[in-house]
């Protein structure tokens, strides 16, 4: 299925968010996630189910004012 990760489409067979993040290379990184605009905490990723067309945001610490 296709999911939109940070604005780019990705093909994945992963059903769970945690698995998809691992596939995408975020496995060991400090990131925060949201699916379809809703925050998904780190502990909830393993049991958060993805569906076709879901919008996933993966954010990391960055410079800010």
């Amino acid at each position: 299925m296709k999911i939109l990760v940070n604005g780019a489409w990705h093909d994945t067979e992963a059903v769970k968010l945690a698995v998809a993040l691992g596939e995408l290379g975020y496995g060991d990184q400090v990131v925060a996630t949201a699916v379809n605009g809703e925050f998904v905490g780190a502990e909830a990723r393993a049991h958060t189910t993805l569906a076709e067309g879901d919008r996933v945001e993966v954010l990391a610490p960055m410079q800010g004012g």
Partner: protein, 257 residues
């Protein structure tokens, strides 16, 4: 000492971490500013680049408190969700709450700000709202649970200083016991000194330092200005007068005409 949500700070200068020419310059600027609080944000991370991971390592090495922002959020929902994400990543209840209402001036949407503050304070966040000098909005934010306010001096990044001295003075006078931090628009150290002389508790500076010709030297200059302004306020400045008053005694002056 400055107290913000129970944290006691010696420095009254908060520093933004954006727009520096390199991480090394940022690190030196933080040291030169003698700041104890830096602002940070969350942005999309490309897995292969790991840019955020490197930045986060640098910030942790600095040993300062972080104040995550919700910069760029235009709605209550965006700001609240960003705050949740920031709390997890940065492991702090502090959030500099920005809800932008107008793109040319980056003026806060104070209606959305008050609503987002109400939600986040109710969830245990310690909210630093980026607001205007409006007294009614300030009262709403305090009622929502905010215990610090961050009024703008001028539009973010504009370097114009304190645009509305009357309004800022009124805000200070109305809320004498609320920590007030001038958040945006300062351009040069004299702006920061002026804010402190008016009785503000601290200032937050980013662009004025990061984009200076020598950011490290400018960070040091802001630190000195904040200290000087704070000391001056504590020392009791004289009231301005409309006429000249001789400072040298008139009695005993020779008649030489």
């Amino acid at each position: 000492m400055l107290e913000l949500y129970g944290a006691t700070l010696r420095s009254r200068l908060l520093l933004g971490t954006a727009r520096y020419s390199s991480p090394a310059v940022l690190k030196e600027a933080v040291a030169a500013a003698r700041t104890e609080v830096v602002t940070v944000s969350l942005r999309r991370e490309a897995a292969a680049e790991r840019a955020g991971q490197g930045f986060w390592s640098l910030i942790r090495e600095l040993g300062v408190r972080v104040l995550p922002n919700t910069a760029g959020c235009h709605s209550v929902k965006e700001a609240v969700t960003t705050a949740h994400m920031a709390r997890e990543v940065f492991a702090t209840p502090w959030v500099k709450l920005e809800v932008i209402g107008e793109d040319d001036t980056l003026q806060p949407d104070v209606f959305g700000l008050a609503e987002a503050a109400r939600i986040l304070c109710g969830e245990g966040f310690e909210v630093f709202p980026y607001t205007t000098e409006d007294l009614v909005v300030a009262e709403r934010l305090l009622t929502a649970g905010c215990r610090v306010l961050m009024p703008w001096g001028a539009p973010i990044g504009s370097g114009r200083g304190l645009n509305n001295l009357f309004g800022l003075g009124a805000l200070r006078a109305h809320f004498p016991h609320v920590p007030l931090i001038i958040d945006a628009g300062l351009g040069v150290p004299s702006h920061a000194a002026h804010a402190m002389e008016l009785g503000f508790d601290a200032v937050l500076v980013n662009t004025a330092v990061a984009q200076a010709g020598d950011p490290v030297a400018m960070a040091a200059a802001f630190a000195q200005a904040v200290e000087a302004g704070y000391a001056a306020r504590a020392a009791g400045p004289i009231e301005p007068k409309d006429f000249g008053t001789p400072s040298t005694p008139v009695i005993g002056q020779a008649f030489l005409g």
